[in-house]
Symmetry: C3
């Protein structure tokens, strides 16, 4: 189950990266690269930081293939994908939930402290987008108006609270990812965002 | 002693990163992230390059806490911190001196050549700021007008000359960091900077 | 032979990085850093991804020296180097051919799949330029109009086809690098480039 959603998450992240690159007028190689880093950049950074080498995607060719499919779909059907934006947003959100779990699991495997595991989950889910924005020469949207990261952190905290309570693993996974996914839906609906540091600057 | 100054250095680097992010109008998560990479980015890059994994801050939660304190102070008291700019500059400079030493020590621990140790010391002290500038979408100030890096290199060279002379370790540490700190003060006072490559372009 | 061309490739990449930095009006330290990452950034990223630590240039001081020579040449003779642009282009192209081979070899040494080896070869040859462009605050030229990467990929595929055919190793190296070098010359002559993703956007 988690592997299937991992594939869906990777595919949708790749599509979102490819669409961004197409709008930035990059060439085909650039579009593939941006799709790649958006989908795998977060996990790659996590693997580098914890010393899991060679990094994950080098040992499982599946990922290069999935991203190629996302790349092709984006090139051929970008007009339709735009119309599907809401459905894509759903998949994208599922991606965030699952990638956070995968990152946390990796941290546990390396016997790191729960706080660090939550950091790794958040990194895995969000830093692909940060690297995409850096490569596209923009200040990462994650640092400006998205609340993804906050949700990943809250989801991660929930994960460890439930684990402390000895909740069954399937329930643990389902509860954490449902939490991240449903709060993000609500946040999107009501247009929530974090205050900027600047807000404090004016009052300070 | 070195641990205490390490904490001060981390805190002041975090504050300087957070203040930059606040002016860039990032949201609270963005401000925390920029504070984090400014303070720990250099050491993280050093650990990745020498293969010290998981990287340092993952094994010592203290750092995440210190940066949180720096983040809170910046959000709450940014107006006052601005007025304290000169005192902060002092701490910041101490940070450069200490981080350079920590980087050099790490290189020696990994039995790398003195030249590489100096490179690692300079990286540790200065590349947090480079990553901060990349994330904030600016050409790193380090490459344009700061002489931090030159001082870290000179301080590193001094370190190995003194070590050759079998100077006592405490004196070694004190002399190297005092050198970096005092020259930077003088440089600041007289507004020294490196010539740009461009200057040679015109004459060339 | 491959070591000699490695030196030439590193030198020419360093010069190309330094010239870019000089035009960007960076200071001398910035010029050296950009020369360094242009020449060694791709190989460094490759080493980090496969877990080859400490990364290559830390164990062989030769590279720091070669880059210093490239830095000095660029500072002192940038006017003449500009006139030599065509000869430099030749060396630069040789650099791409050789760096691709070195990256592929490294992947084989780590027993990675041929597809991943081709990715590593392409990374080694091209990502120094990507990091240079990020540091200089530009969208990487590699993603916009260069076909280097496509050639490295095609060259890498040729490498593994010839290897399957049990071709003698010297012939293998010569054929692969000649292929990359000659196609790039032809591409330059006829001004070939990849279509942008944007082209598909309009039709899509």
């Amino acid at each position: 189950m988690i592997e299937f959603i991992d594939i869906i998450g990777t595919l949708v992240f790749a599509i979102s990266g490819a669409l961004t690159a197409i709008y930035k007028k990059l060439d085909l190689f650039g579009v593939y690269c941006i799709a790649f880093v958006t989908a795998l950049g977060g996990g790659t950074l996590r693997d580098i930081l914890i010393g899991n080498a060679p990094v994950g995607w080098m040992l499982d060719l599946k990922y290069i293939g999935i991203i190629f499919i996302g790349f092709l779909l984006s090139i051929l059907f970008n007009k339709y994908l735009e119309k599907l934006r809401i459905s894509l947003f759903l998949f994208d959100t599922i991606g965030f939930g699952v990638f956070t779990l995968i990152g946390i699991e990796k941290g546990i495997e390396y016997q790191l402290h729960p706080v660090i595991c939550v950091v790794l989950g958040t990194l895995t889910a969000t830093f692909g987008g940060v690297i995409r924005d850096i490569l596209c020469n923009e200040i990462p949207v994650l640092f400006r108006k998205e609340i993804y990261a906050t949700l990943c952190i809250l989801g991660g905290i929930l994960f460890f609270i439930l684990q402390e309570l000895n909740v069954n693993q399937d329930v643990l996974y389902l509860a954490t990812s449902s939490f991240i996914i449903s709060i993000r839906m609500i946040a999107f609906k009501f247009n929530w965002s974090l205050p900027t540091g600047n807000a404090f600057l004016k009052k300070g």
